[in-house]
Amino acid sequence: MKAAPFDYVRASSVEMAVDALRDGAVALAGGQSLIPLLNARARRPAVVVDVSRLPLAGVEQVGSTLVLGAMTRLRAAETSPVVRRAVPLLAEALTHVGHVSVRNRGTVGGSVAHADPAAELPAVLLALDAVFSVRGRGGTREVDARDFFRGPHRTALAADELLTGIRVPLPPATARCGIAELSRRPHDLAITAVFTSVVLTGRVVTDVRIAVAGAAPVPLRAHAAEHVLRGEVFGPDVLAAAAEAAADATDPIDDVHAPAAYRRDMTAVLTRRALRQAVPA
């Protein structure tokens, strides 16, 4: 299919982009999700605002924060030594996003703004307590990841706002990470995926983050599961209890790939596996 007619604006500055964004407009970054949707006429914007040439690409560590420009290509972030050193969980999660050819074009901002509930990046950024920089006509505001995702493909972005950057607080150097993802074929969109970060003091869990993709209308932070683990000695019993708590937090859907009950059950399996990957027995 071919896209329905739309007007096209190539933004040469963030101000110009924000000025063009309004109800019925959509921002085009890497195009890996939007272009197929346009071609299927599943999205019919009046205006496509092309933000791909904006100077919003780049990765840097600023003090104890990793800052990613929204236009940073997924592959650039994945292969950045800065990301790998500062936030290994994020670098590792990026390797699961689509295929390399998709990551070469797709952007970190695009993935976040597209807000697919099964996507890796929203979930891992939720686990990392990321903060999103959002530019509107009135200026810039910061939105916590936990407030950003509102539903499938729905976010806190207003029609006239553009996601410009992502700030990730650096986890402690002692944090260990684990990812367990289940997809029908490698690099497919996840059926369910779990992202974990664990800090141990001795054998005791002093900090833990668990986020789940593909198990609810939005990426989930498994707070109850984290609560089960925090302050406990890391071992099979608390792992099992945390896995069940994570599964209890889910609100999954049925689709052609898996029924909701399977996604719930897999959340438990994957939570246990991700935690075990972070802290092998």
């Binding site: 299919m1 329905a4 052609v256 790939h257 029924p259 897999m266």
Partner: protein, 782 residues
């Protein structure tokens, strides 16, 4: 003769063009003034069309023609043709290129637009106002056969499209005398062949001469020409079908589709060439579906493992309308359900059931993968029941005396036990038993599965295929020429669609004529000039019967070359030898004449070279119609692991032992086997066209319809053995479909072996993680 090229592992002549981007596919065909078409498709699985208003679309800028189903019906001379009638007394659907009064499935075409470009045509589709009165839909065999089921065709008493039976021997007696009777029900999901290139057509209607000139990525240009002529009421000479390069066929491009007629009608209405290419989303509703069946079977056996009877019913879950081949894929499942086994009594009923889905048509393997799954499952079940090795049950029941009259076809030749041994040897050489033992010691669940298949290939003998219900011949015509420079052109009616048939036929000609391979060019794809072939390039027949036709024509041409050379040398033709296009007298290497010399004499300067009694030119034509089909066979072994917490299956190894008679090019056969095996993997683990509770189509893109990708296809190992078909010149048997036949059963058996402790039995495909996990849990609870 014997230039050594039959059997040579040579690179494919097609590949340079394909790999350097110089191929011309259907979408590259752009005659001047071209319009592009789009088709409005039903959003409902079943609805009455109350009203269609096309006025706004007609008025849309850039639109040159708009037609509705009723418009197209008024212009055609007959409904969409059916070329395979399994149940001559049975009901047949009457379908036109677009829906007329009712839409019968999601995606059923309702109206079409030709415009200056595809985007404009799609814009105009949105301006067509259709009022539908939705009706309840049926998408499963159980729904369709329920007593109060909505009827798709209201003049029918039910949703049964046809019944027939495949029978041999005394089944009642076999079951009455049986020591063991085992029963099972199998279900196979709906799939489709998904070639890299979707289907497309460029039709040009000449309003002054009433010629229809068509470019079509079809597997059967001659068949398409015949059917265009029938449907549009034209003499055959008024229709020309040309085939560009084709990006894969798999049977999907073998049928005659309504959208091809729509393009012709739009060209007639607009006075311009019209292109219609289904896009990927449309292909899921516009290209034929396949595979979906429910099969209930029983086998009768003696306590020693001898299978004495097989009976049951194949329910073909057809679409709403027949495809070009009707019920025949489902009949084929029944026809070959005994597989490689000499079962004396067989009675398999075939029931075609219409549902609110797109037509059911041909896809690589036709009915065979389902039949194979059934007989291989039953062999394993019988072995388990008797506590014996399943390979012993296979051996005990293999056909060993050839020719063998199976329920329908006569198997010409085979060495099944040797092929089974070849496969088991390959497994031993690969060290799979150690891998399984090692993995199990580490707590993993890994297993090995086997499936043995045989295949009715070279489906070509015109009388046999007619008796099977196919209303079309299957012979093959070929012409071989040597030109004035001594180079060779092979003209064939077969179609090149990525499978390497040009290379294979060139090897046959070069082998027979003893000329260098690069002196041979194969020409195909234009019905105005190509030799005729029955129904098309399908059913694993191109290499076998096309190869035999080329071989016979080239053999006669070689004789003429030798007669001319003999005249030059004043020697007897029998005393001459040919080597790389040079003819000399045996034992006298100093004197020689080249094919170029002979070609020059045959066309340009005959005086003194061409004998008085030889006609000029070097051209021989052959029409080859085999007396029988040719039965190829093979054995597949799969090594698989299962994650028992998630139900995910990983394939770790895949070995095929295969016999397709004389192999023309082992590299091409390897590729065919591997491509088929990849599709078997898709069918076993991934592919399913899904429908919702209300009958709506749920799989409309590759995000929902999962093809096997490079990441899930394991490395293959292939071993060949050769049992020539002694009734076919050259001894060739078909190889195009072989890889897909045994894969499903072998994968299922590997999964069952891996999960032996849970007693999991696989009776439906695909094996999805949620379903398999449920079966594992059920096994744990037992």
């Amino acid at each position: 003769m014997g230039g050594g090229l039959i059997g040579a592992r040579v690179s494919r002549a097609e590949d340079v063009r394909l790999l350097t981007g110089r191929a011309v596919f259907i979408d590259d065909v752009r005659p001047p003034g071209l319009l592009e078409a789009a088709i409005l498709r039903s959003p409902h699985p079943h609805a009455r069309i109350v009203r269609i208003d096309t006025a706004a679309a007609v008025a849309h800028p850039g639109v040159l023609a708009v037609v509705t189903g009723a418009d197209v019906r008024a212009l055609v001379h007959r409904p969409q043709p059916l070329i395979w009638r399994i149940s001559p007394a049975g009901r047949e659907t009457v379908a036109y290129p677009l829906a007329v009064d009712k839409v019968l499935y999601t995606g059923h075409g309702v109206a079409a637009v030709a415009a200056v470009d595809r985007a404009t045509a799609e814009d105009a589709l949105e301006l067509i106002d259709v009022e539908y009165a939705p009706l309840p839909a049926v998408t499963t065999v159980e729904q369709a056969l329920a007593p109060d089921a909505p009827r798709l065709h209201e003049d029918w008493p039910d949703n049964v499209a046809g019944r027939t039976v495949v029978a041999k021997g005394d089944v009642e007696e076999a079951f009455a005398q049986a020591d063991v009777v085992l029963r099972e029900t199998f279900r196979f999901a709906r799939q489709l062949g998904a070639p890299l290139e979707t289907r497309g057509v460029v039709a040009t209607w000449d309003p002054f001469t009433s010629h229809l000139d068509v470019w079509l990525n079809t597997q059967g240009p001659h068949l398409a020409r015949e059917l265009f002529a029938e449907v549009l009421g034209l003499a055959v000479d008024k229709v020309r079908v040309r085939v560009p390069d084709i990006g894969g066929g798999f049977g999907s491009k073998a049928g005659f589709y309504g959208d091809q007629v729509v393009a012709a009608v739009l060209s007639r209405a607009s006075g311009r060439p019209v292109k219609y290419v289904e896009d990927r989303r449309e292909s899921f509703v516009a290209t034929v579906h396949a595979r979906e069946q429910r099969i209930d079977v029983e086998v009768a056996a003696r306590a020693d493992g001898t299978i004495t009877g097989l009976r049951g019913t194949v329910h073909g879950v057809l679409g709403a309308n027949f495809s070009t081949v009707g019920l025949s894929p489902c009949w084929t499942t029944a026809a070959v359900m005994a597989g490689p086994y000499a079962i004396p009594a067989v009675e398999v009923n075939v029931v075609g059931v219409v549902t609110n889905k797109p037509p059911y048509g041909s896809y690589r393997g036709y009915g065979l993968p389902k039949a194979n799954f059934v007989h291989e499952h039953m062999v394993e079940a019988l072995a388990r029941h008797l506590g014996v090795d399943p390979h012993d049950v296979r051996r005990r029941n293999f056909v060993t005396d050839f020719p063998h009259q199976s329920p329908v076809f006569v198997y010409d030749s085979g060495r099944y036990a040797e092929c089974l041994d070849l496969c088991r040897d390959a497994v031993r050489r690969a060290g799979w038993a150690d891998r399984v033992a090692g993995a199990r010691a580490g707590g993993a669940h890994v297993g090995i599965g086997y499936a043995f298949h045989n295949e009715v290939s070279a489906f070509a003998p015109s009388r046999i295929v007619n008796m099977s219900g196919l209303d079309h011949s299957g012979f093959d015509e070929a012409a071989v020429r040597i030109d004035s420079t001594g180079h060779v052109s092979v003209h064939t009616g077969q179609t090149s669609m990525g499978q390497g048939i040009h290379t294979a036929l060139a090897q046959v000609a070069a082998h027979v004529l003893d000329v260098p391979l690069d002196h041979v060019t194969v020409i195909s794809g234009d019905t105005d000039s190509a030799p005729y072939t029955g129904y098309g390039t399908a059913a694993s027949r191109a290499a076998a019967v096309g190869g035999a036709a080329v071989l016979n024509a080239a053999t006669r041409l070689r004789a003429k070359v030798l007669r001319i050379a003999a005249h030059v040398f004043e020697a007897a033709p029998d005393d001459l030898v040919i080597d790389e296009g040079v003819v000399s007298v045996k034992g006298v290497p100093g004197r020689s004449v080249t094919f170029a010399d002979i070609g020059d004499a045959a066309y340009r300067r005959p005086h003194g070279v061409l004998p008085e009694d030889e006609a000029p030119t070097l051209h021989e034509r052959e029409v080859y119609d085999p007396v029988n089909v040719a039965t190829a066979f093979g054995c597949t072994a799969v090594l698989a692991s299962v994650d028992v917490e998630t139900g995910v299956v990983d394939l770790l190894g895949y070995l095929i032992a295969h016999d397709c008679g004389t192999v023309i090019n082992p590299m091409i056969v390897d590729g065919q086997l591997q491509g088929g095996a990849a599709q078997a993997i898709g069918g076993a683990l991934y592919e399913r066209l899904a429908y919702g509770a209300a009958g709506e189509a749920l799989t409309l893109s590759f995000a929902e319809y999962l093809l096997p990708t490079a990441t899930v296809v394991p490395p293959f190992g292939v071993d060949h053995m050769e049992t020539p078909a002694d009734h076919i010149p050259g001894g060739f048997k078909g190889a195009g479909e072989a890889g897909v036949i045994g894969g499903g059963a072998a994968i299922a058996h590997a999964v069952e072996d891996a999960l032996a402790e849970f007693g999991v039995r696989i009776t439906s495909l695909p094996i999805t993680p949620p379903d398999l996990l449920a079966a594992i849990r059920a096994g744990s609870d037992r």
